[in-house]
C-alpha cells in the first residue's frame, strides 16, 4: 500500500521495514509469552477450564445466552423508548418558542453532562424508595431508565443536527406550499433528516449495548458480564476463559453494529446526488460526539 505520508519503499527502506517488523514482532511475542506463561503457571490455560464452552451446552443455555438476552432486552427497550423521546426533545430544541427551546435545551445539556452510571444509581434508589417494583426487576428498570435519559438527550442532539444540515430551501418550500410548522417538520424535514442521521443512530446502539454492562457490574443486573461470577463459581475458577468468551460476545455484537453503521454511511453518501452531508457514525465512546453532532 502506498500512502501520501511516505515514499514507495526502495531497497533500503524495504530492509529497514523488515527490521522494524522483526523488532515489533519480537516485542509482541515477548509480551505474549510473558502473559501466556504466567497464565499457564496459574493453570488458567488448562484444557478443562476452556472445554466447557465447547463441550458443555449448559454453560450457554444457563448462563451466557440468558445473560446476552438480558443485555439485548435492556438495549432494545432503551433505544425504543429513547428514540421518540429524543426526537421530541430534538424538535423541541428547534422550536420557535423561547419557552420551549430554552428549558428543553437545559434538560438535554444536563443529562448529557451526567455520567450514565450516576443516572442508573439514582434511578435505582428512586425505584427502591418510591415504587413497588420488585427487587428482581429493579436493576432492569434502573438500567433502562438511566440509558433512556442519557441517550434521549444524545439522540435529541443528533436529530437537531440532522434537521439543521438540511438545505434551508426545504423548509421554505414547505412554508410556500402553505404547510403548518408541524406539517413541515413531520412530512418534509424529519423524513429527510432520518436518512442523514441513520449511521449516527446505529452507532449510538453500540454505546447503549456497552453501557448495559455497567448495570451488571454495579447494580446487580443479570446481563452478560455479570454471568462471569456464576460461571467461574460453577466451572472451577476459569476466570480468564470466561472473560475471554464474554468479551468476544460483546465484540462480535458491537462489531456487527459498527459495520452496519459504516455500510449505511457509505451507502447514503453514494445515494445522494449532491455532495450532501451525512452525520458520521460516531466513534462510539460512552459519548464521543463527532463535531457535527455536538453542534452548538
Amino acid at each position: 500500500m502506498s500512502s501520501v505520508l511516505y515514499d514507495t519503499p526502495g531497497p533500503r527502506a524495504k530492509r529497514r521495514n523488515v527490521v522494524y517488523t522483526i523488532v515489533f514482532l519480537a516485542v509482541l511475542a515477548l509480551v505474549g509469552w510473558w502473559v501466556l506463561d504466567a497464565l499457564n503457571a496459574k493453570h488458567q490455560l488448562d484444557a478443562d477450564k476452556w472445554s466447557p464452552f465447547v463441550t458443555d451446552s449448559q454453560v450457554w443455555t444457563t448462563y451466557l445466552l440468558p445473560g446476552l438476552t438480558e443485555t439485548l432486552k435492556a438495549a432494545a427497550l432503551s433505544i425504543v423508548i429513547a428514540l421518540p423521546l429524543g426526537a421530541a426533545l430534538g424538535i423541541g430544541r428547534l422550536s420557535d418558542h423561547r419557552w420551549v427551546r430554552v428549558p428543553v435545551g437545559a434538560l438535554v445539556e444536563f443529562f448529557r453532562a451526567i455520567p450514565v452510571l450516576l443516572l442508573m444509581m439514582f434511578a435505582s434508589a428512586l425505584y427502591r424508595e418510591f415504587t413497588t417494583v420488585s427487587s428482581d426487576f429493579r436493576p432492569l428498570y434502573a438500567v433502562v431508565t438511566g440509558l433512556v435519559l442519557y441517550n434521549a438527550s444524545v439522540i435529541a442532539e443528533v436529530v437537531r443536527a440532522g434537521v439543521l444540515t438540511l438545505p434551508r430551501g426545504q423548509g421554505d418550500a414547505a412554508v410556500a406550499l402553505g404547510m403548518r410548522k408541524g406539517q413541515t417538520m413531520l412530512y418534509v424535514l424529519l423524513p429527510q433528516a432520518v436518512t442523514v442521521m441513520l449511521p449516527a443512530l446505529v452507532s449510538q446502539l453500540v454505546v447503549i449495548v456497552k453501557d448495559t454492562a455497567l448495570g451488571g457490574a454495579l447494580l446487580g443486573f443479570g446481563e452478560l458480564l455479570s454471568q462471569n461470577r456464576q460461571i467461574t463459581a460453577n466451572y472451577g475458577a476459569n476466570t480468564i476463559a470466561t472473560l475471554v468468551v464474554i468479551a468476544l460476545l460483546y465484540i462480535v455484537l458491537n462489531f456487527l453494529l459498527t459495520t452496519l453503521a459504516s455500510r449505511l454511511e457509505k451507502r447514503l453518501r453514494r445515494g445522494r446526488k449532491s455532495p450532501s452531508v451525512t452525520l458520521p457514525a460516531q466513534a462510539g465512546a460512552t459519548d464521543v460526539k463527532s463535531e457535527a453532532v455536538s453542534g452548538a
Binding site: 452510571l117 450516576l118 444509581m121 453501557d211 460483546y250
Partner: protein, 224 residues
Amino acid sequence: MFDFLDSGQYDLLGAFWVTAQLALYSAIGSLVWGTALVAMRVSPVPLMRGFATAYVNIVRNTPLTVVLVACLLGLNQTLGVTLGAETFENIGFRLAVLGLVAYTGTFVCEALRSGINTVPPGQAEAARALGLSFTQVLRLVILPQAFRASVTPLANVLIALTKNTTVAAAIGAAETSLLMKTMLENETDALFTVFAIFAFGFIVLTLPTGLVLGWAAKRLAVKR
C-alpha cells in the same frame, strides 16, 4: 437538608479529587497512547498498521466495564500485577488508570486520524519533496496540523473520559460514584439532594472543559 454533609461522614471533596486525578492521569496517558496508535496506524510497516487497526477495533467494541474488570481479574488477581501499589484502593486506582488509558487511547487515535485526514495531501507531498523521512513528515508537518484540527473531537473524548471515570467504581477505586452509591443507600430521605450534589460536581468538572477547549479549537484551527 444538607445536614448530612456537616456530619463529616462523607468525604465529598476527596471523592471528587480522586475523580479529577483519575481523569487527569488517564487523559495524559491516553493522549500518549492514542498518538502512538495513530502513528502505527499510518506507518509504512504493515505489521504495525495491522496491530493498531486490530487493537482499535477490538478495544473500541469492548465495554469499558469489561476492560476494567479484566484489568482487575486478569492482570491483578491472576497475573499478580500491582503496578507498585500496596493497598487495595491504590491498586484499584492504578488499574483503573491503566484500563482507561487502554480504552480511551482508541478514541484518541480515531480523533487524530480524522484530524490527519483534514490535512491537505499537498502538505505531506511537499514535506516528502524536501526529503523528510516518515517520522519527520509525521512529527514536523502532519501531526501538528492534525492536533490543531482535532481539538474539538479530543475535547469530546476528554469529557467522555471524565464521565467514564465513574466506571472505576466497578474495581473499587474510591471515586465519586462509589461514594454516591453509599450515600444513596444511607440518606434515603435526601435522595434528590444527593443526586443534585453529584450532578453539580460533574457539571463543574465537564462544563469548563467544553468551554475552554471550544474556545481553543477556534483559536487553534488551521485557517485554510
